[in-house]
C-alpha cells in the first residue's frame, strides 16, 4: 500500500495538484493500521515548511541534534505525533514536539506523516 502511495504522491507533487490521489483509491490496497484517507499533500507541505524543517532539515533528513524523520513509516510517525499531541514526553526534545503537535488535527497528522515519508529523495 505504501509503495502504491509513494508513486501517487510523487506524481501529484510533480503536477502541483492541490489534492493528492488517495491511497484509499488503490483498489488492491490491503488492510493497514492507517485509516483510509485522502492525503492533502499541499496542506502537509505547508505544515512541514512552517513547523518541521527549521529543526529536522529541509528534506527531513535530520540536522544538528534533531533526528532524521524521512525514513519513518507513516504509521510510526503518526503514532509519535499523536503521543506528543497528548502531552507525552519521550526524548530530549519533547517540549518542542509537544508544542508543535498540539496544533495538529487528526487530518494534519495523517497528511504530514505520509508527506514526510514520501516527499524527499533519500
Amino acid at each position: 500500500m505504501i509503495r502504491n502511495f509513494v508513486l501517487s504522491a510523487s506524481l501529484v507533487l510533480c503536477s502541483s495538484a492541490v489534492w493528492a490521489g488517495s491511497y484509499a483509491d488503490a483498489s488492491d490496497a490491503p488492510d493497514t493500521a492507517m485509516p483510509a484517507h485522502e492525503v492533502d499533500i499541499e496542506a502537509a507541505k505547508k505544515i512541514f515548511q512552517k513547523s518541521c524543517r527549521g529543526c529536522h532539515g529541509n528534506k527531513a533528513q535530520g540536522a544538528a541534534s534533531y533526528p532524521k524523520i524521512n525514513d519513518l513509516e507513516p504509521e510510526y510517525m503518526a503514532d509519535k505525533l499523536e503521543r506528543y499531541r497528548a502531552g507525552e514526553k519521550f526524548g530530549p526534545n519533547s517540549i518542542l514536539m509537544i508544542q508543535q503537535a498540539k496544533k495538529l488535527s487528526d487530518e494534519d497528522i495523517a497528511n504530514l506523516s505520509v508527506y514526510v515519508a514520501t516527499a524527499f529523495d533519500k
Binding site: S16, R53, G54, G57, A64, S65, P92, L96, Q100
Partner: protein, 430 residues
C-alpha cells in the same frame, strides 16, 4: 488554518526553488532594492552536519563535520579526511576520545595566520578524555602534502560540557558549547563557549563556558585580557549564553559576537575587553524564583510559547538591572530568537554597498509562534562603526537551510554551511 494563509505562496516558491536545486544552475541571480545579485554553487554536498570552514589563499578549505571529523578540500576538489571523531572510519587518524552528542561534537576550525611557516591548524571538539567530559581546542601540524595531521596538542582542555539531560527544551546532554575558533587582527586566537544549561557557568570567574577566550597558540592568556579580578585570565568577555558567531570589524578590528538567544533576543554585540554580556540564568535572583534544574534560561513558562518581550523582561539576555555595565547589544533580531549562529564580514568591491558589511547566518527555530527565519542577514554599521544602521535579508539564489557557518573565501565569495549537509559558495553578480 492560519499557517495555510500565511504560507499560501510557498508551494510555487518551493517548486521554483526545488527546480533550481535540481538543475544546480550557477547562473541564477536575483536583484532588487537593497539586494545584491548572487550566484550559488554547491561546493560540497551530502556532508553530515558541516559545522565550520577555514581557508588558505589558494582556496584550500578545512571543514568539520560534527560527528565525523576534520577534512580538507584541496583546490582541485580532492578531499582528504584528516582526523576522525572517535572510531569514525576513513580518516587518516582518529581522536579516540572525541565524540558527539546532541549539539556537541567537532565544531570550529582555523588555520594559523603563520600557517605557511608552521603548518599549524586548530579545531575544537568534545572529548571524553576528562571526566566529567570537556570541550577541547586542539592544535595540529598539517603534513606538507595535506593528507594527515600530527602533533595533537590540547591547548584548551577545560571548556565544560553538559553531561546529563535536564528538564529544559533542547534538554539533552551536550547543549551549548559555543564552538567558533577565529584569529583576530591582533594575532590572538579567540574561542567562543557556551553555558551548558548550567546557571552557574555564565558569571563564573573560573568555569570557562559562556566566555570568549583570547589566548596565544599555546593556550596562554593574552597579556592584555582585562577580566574582573579573580577571573581566569584567558577570559576576554564573559556572561554569554552560547556564542557561535564571532567576527572582527575590518576597520576597527573590534571583536563582534553573534549569539543565539533564549527564545527571545538573538544578539550582536561589540565586545569590550573584560566585558560582561549580562546573561545570568541562575534561579532565585533578579526577581526570579526556582527554575527547572536550577537553570532559568527558558523560563518563564518554558513549555509554552509566549510573548517574547514578557520572556525578555523575566529572563533578559542582557540583564542591565543586575549588571548596569553590561555590554549593550547593537541588534536583537527584533526580539526574536531564531538560531543566530555565525558571523563574517563581506570583503571586496564585488559586494557593492555591502562591502564591509557583516553577515549573520540564522538557522531557524519556529517555536511558539516565532517565524522560522532561516536566512542570512546583512548588517550594515553606522559611520562610526559603533551601531547597526541597516539590516537586509540576503535574497538567496537557493533554498534556505540551517545556516550554521558563514565564512569569507579568499576568492571574494561567501561560503556557507547548512546543517542539512551542504556547503554553498555565494558569489555576487548575475
Amino acid at each position: 488554518m492560519n499557517w495555510n494563509k500565511s504560507h499560501s505562496r510557498l508551494p510555487l516558491v518551493g517548486c521554483l526553488l526545488a527546480g533550481t536545486a535540481i538543475l544546480s544552475s550557477p547562473v541564477l541571480a536575483q536583484s532588487g532594492m537593497n539586494t545584491t545579485s548572487l550566484q550559488h554553487e554547491v561546493v560540497l554536498d551530502d556532508l553530515e552536519n558541516p559545522w565550520d570552514m577555514a581557508f588558505l589563499d589558494d582556496g584550500t578549505m578545512l571543514f568539520t563535520e560534527k560527528c565525523k571529523g576534520l577534512s580538507i578540500r584541496m583546490p582541485d576538489g580532492a578531499i582528504n579526511a584528516l582526523y576522525g571523531v572517535g572510531e569514525t572510519e576513513g580518516y587518516g587518524s582518529n581522536g579516540a576520545d572525541l565524540f558527539c552528542e546532541g549539539q556537541a561534537g567537532m565544531m570550529g576550525v582555523a588555520f594559523d595566520p603563520e600557517f605557511a611557516n608552521n603548518r599549524r591548524i586548530y579545531v575544537y571538539s568534545t572529548s571524553n578524555m576528562s571526566d566529567p567530559h570537556t570541550n577541547r581546542l586542539m592544535r595540529f601540524t598539517l603534513a606538507e602534502d595535506f593528507t594527515s595531521v600530527a602533533d595533537r596538542t590540547d591547548i584548551v582542555d577545560d571548556v565544560p560540557y553538559k553531561m546529563a539531560a535536564s528538564d529544559h527544551p533542547f534538554g539533552g546532554p551536550g547543549a551549548h558549547n559555543g564552538g567558533r575558533v577565529r584569529f583576530g587582527p591582533d594575532g590572538a586566537l579567540y574561542l567562543t563557549t557556551g553555558d551548558n544549561h548550567n546557571g552557574e557557568v555564565p558569571q563564573s570567574p573560573t568555569m570557562m563556558g559562556s566566555k570568549v577566550i583570547r589566548i596565544d597558540t599555546d593556550g596562554n592568556a593574552h597579556p592584555e585580557n582585562a577580566p574582573p579580578e579573580g577571573f581566569d585570565k584567558r577570559t576576554y568577555t564573559y556572561g554569554h549564553r552560547n556564542v557561535q558567531g564571532i567576527a572582527f570589524h575590518p576597520k576597527t578590528g573590534a571583536a563582534i559576537t553573534a549569539e543565539h538567544g533564549p527564545w527571545h533576543s538573538d544578539e550582536i554585540t561589540i565586545l569590550r575587553n573584560g566585558g560582561n554580556a549580562g546573561w545570568d540564568p541562575r534561579p532565585n535572583m533578579a526577581g526570579r524564583g526556582d527554575c527547572p534544574d536550577n537553570y532559568c534560561g527558558y523560563s518563564p513558562n518554558q513549555e509554552e510559547g509566549m510573548n517574547r518581550y514578557e520572556r525578555a523582561a523575566y529572563m533578559p539576555m542582557t540583564d542591565f538591572d543586575t549588571y548596569p555595565d553590561a555590554m549593550p547589544p547593537i541588534w536583537n533580531n527584533n526580539g526574536w530568537s531564531q538560531g543566530t549562529s555565525s558571523a563574517a564580514f563581506l570583503e571586496g568591491e564585488q559586494w557593492g554597498d555591502w562591502n564591509g558589511a557583516m553577515v549573520v547566518g540564522i538557522m531557524g527555530i519556529g517555536f511558539g509562534g516565532t517565524p522560522i527565519g532561516q536566512r542570512i542577514d546583512v548588517i550594515q554599521f553606522n559611520d562610526e562603526n559603533t551601531d547597526v544602521e541597516d539590516v537586509t535579508e540576503m535574497t538567496l539564489p537557493m533554498e534556505p537551510g540551517r545556516f550554521r557557518s558563514v565564512v569569507m573565501g579568499p576568492d571574494g565569495s561567501l561560503y556557507t554551511a547548512i546543517d542539512e549537509g551542504t556547503i554553498y559558495k555565494l558569489t555576487p553578480g548575475s
